[in-house]
């Protein structure tokens, strides 16, 4: 069964006007995390960026970098890697900014490019390791707990046991506040596939959290 978490969000339902409480009818708790980034605002900034407006580019960088950085941190092993990936992503975004079309959802466009950079980086790193004869170290490096490797907190620790594909889906749905349709666009997959990954991720999280006795306590944080 698909988790009953609030995934089916339309752009109008996002409630960017201010933070709402989780559980309110039609609310989206994610909006509380990024109240400054309504899609229409981002689309407007993106259009101005395409017209050559440096202020709009800077505003986009400042608004989206924290969530992109967190996306990399949840996926990769170290803060240094996340910093590098973030820089590389913005360079690529700059090179291909003409491929964004006004009226299309803007977050899937950013995340699709960020995801491409991450996958490319991982493959390059694997090749470098093979070249340097340290291939056997890769699985260990990938398995390093983000929180132990300079990560910043509970989200990374919470999602660490999930497989990469489930981690990115949960991160996009629950942290970036994207809808199922938007995550499907960002990951070049179907809505059904996203639902399935979210469902499996919830199953794993349920097992883990139940094991930690959080169902009764619902304690804040995992640390």
């Amino acid at each position: 069964m698909f988790p009953k978490g609030n995934f089916k969000k339309t752009r109008q339902e996002r409630g960017y006007g201010g933070r709402r409480e989780f559980g309110d009818p039609g609310s989206n708790w994610v909006s509380g995390f990024f109240p400054m980034c309504p899609d229409s605002d981002l689309e407007m900034l993106m259009a101005r960026y395409q017209q050559g407006d440096f202020a709009a580019a800077t505003a986009l960088i400042h608004r989206l970098s924290p969530q992109l950085h967190r996306f990399f941190l949840v996926q990769s092993a170290s803060r240094q890697d996340a910093d590098d990936l973030l820089q590389e992503t913005w360079l690529r975004i700059h090179q291909v900014r003409h491929t964004y079309r006004a009226g299309e959802p803007v977050l899937p466009w950013f995340y699709a490019i960020a995801r491409h950079i991450r996958v490319d980086h991982y493959r390059k790193a694997r090749r470098t390791s093979a070249r340097e004869g340290r291939l056997e170290e890769m699985p260990e490096a990938a398995a390093v707990h983000p929180a132990q490797a300079g990560g910043t907190g509970d989200l990374e620790a919470l999602l660490a046991p999930l497989p990469e594909s489930q981690r990115e889906v949960i991160q996009m749905l629950k942290v970036a506040g994207m809808s199922l349709e938007e995550v499907a666009r960002a990951t070049s997959s179907s809505v059904g596939s996203v639902k399935q990954k979210a469902h499996r991720a919830y199953e794993r999280l349920r097992e883990r959290l139940s094991g930690m006795g959080l169902s009764k306590e619902r304690a804040g944080g995992l640390s």
Binding site: K4, L73, D83
Partner: protein
């Protein structure tokens, strides 16, 4: 534990503030430069897909006209009415899929692999339903000639289409190569249906349809090789 409780735990975890080093953001902004320069956004998807269909149809038609339009002259009205609209639908699906692969964050209505096998199977089934001559005279020699001719027309169709879509950016080069090859292969099959007057069912079903998977495989291989060469480039530049 209920889903709502998991939501709540995720919410708490995600609420932990996450800051990025301001110096890093300044470096990123600095790398873009004070005047990024205006760019012309890509046209709407339907314009790009329509352009691809026109290019591939033009290559197929020009190739068949050069070799002789023997096939379409010999086809019955019913066969024409079924084969060419079906090819048109596949053209549109493949073109739309390729455009989707070349624009990040596009909706993927059909996966490139699914389009390839479903399209090839649908064409083969339609040919099986339409043609009932089961002789296999000069099966291999004529078949190889048709396959070669189809692929030789898929190459210019693929190249012209790639030139048309060159401003796009493929986040998954392999998928983009596969669907590009599928579209180019469809141009090759269309040329064969216009030109080839051999209506033996095994010939049409195998050798004509085979142009699509072979062309798709070539497209994917080319994309993989390009990607591989790109990743090797930093190593080659090392002293």
């Amino acid at each position: 534990m209920r889903d709502g409780e998991i939501d709540e735990v995720l919410q708490r975890a995600a609420q932990v503030p996450h800051d990025v080093d301001p110096a890093l953001l300044d470096r990123v902004a600095g790398s873009i430069g004070p005047s990024p320069g205006p760019v012309r956004p890509l046209p709407p998807a339907w314009v790009l897909a329509g352009g691809l269909v026109l290019i591939c149809a033009a290559v197929a038609l020009a190739g068949a006209a050069r070799l002789g339009l023997y096939g379409i002259q010999k086809l019955s009205v019913l066969e024409r009415a079924l084969i060419f609209p079906a090819l048109g639908v596949l053209f549109w699906l493949a073109a739309a899929a390729w455009v989707g692969e070349m624009v990040p964050g596009s909706r993927r209505r059909v996966a490139p692999g699914t389009l390839l096998w479903a399209g090839s199977l649908a064409l083969a089934a339609m040919f099986a339903a339409l043609f009932h001559d089961y002789r296999t005279e000069q099966f291999v020699s004529q078949g190889v000639a048709c396959l070669t001719a189809g692929l030789l027309h898929a190459i210019p169709a693929g190249l012209a289409s790639w030139l048309f879509l060159r401003r796009g950016f493929a986040v998954n080069a392999l998928a983009a190569g596969l669907v590009a090859g599928t579209l180019a292969g469809l141009a090759g099959v269309t040329m064969l249906e216009l030109h080839c007057a051999n209506f033996e069912a095994p010939h049409v079903m195998l050798w004509h349809t085979a142009v699509i998977p072979v062309s798709a495989a070539a497209g994917a291989l080319l994309a993989w090789a390009t990607q591989f060469a790109g990743r090797l480039a930093p190593f080659r530049r090392r002293p």
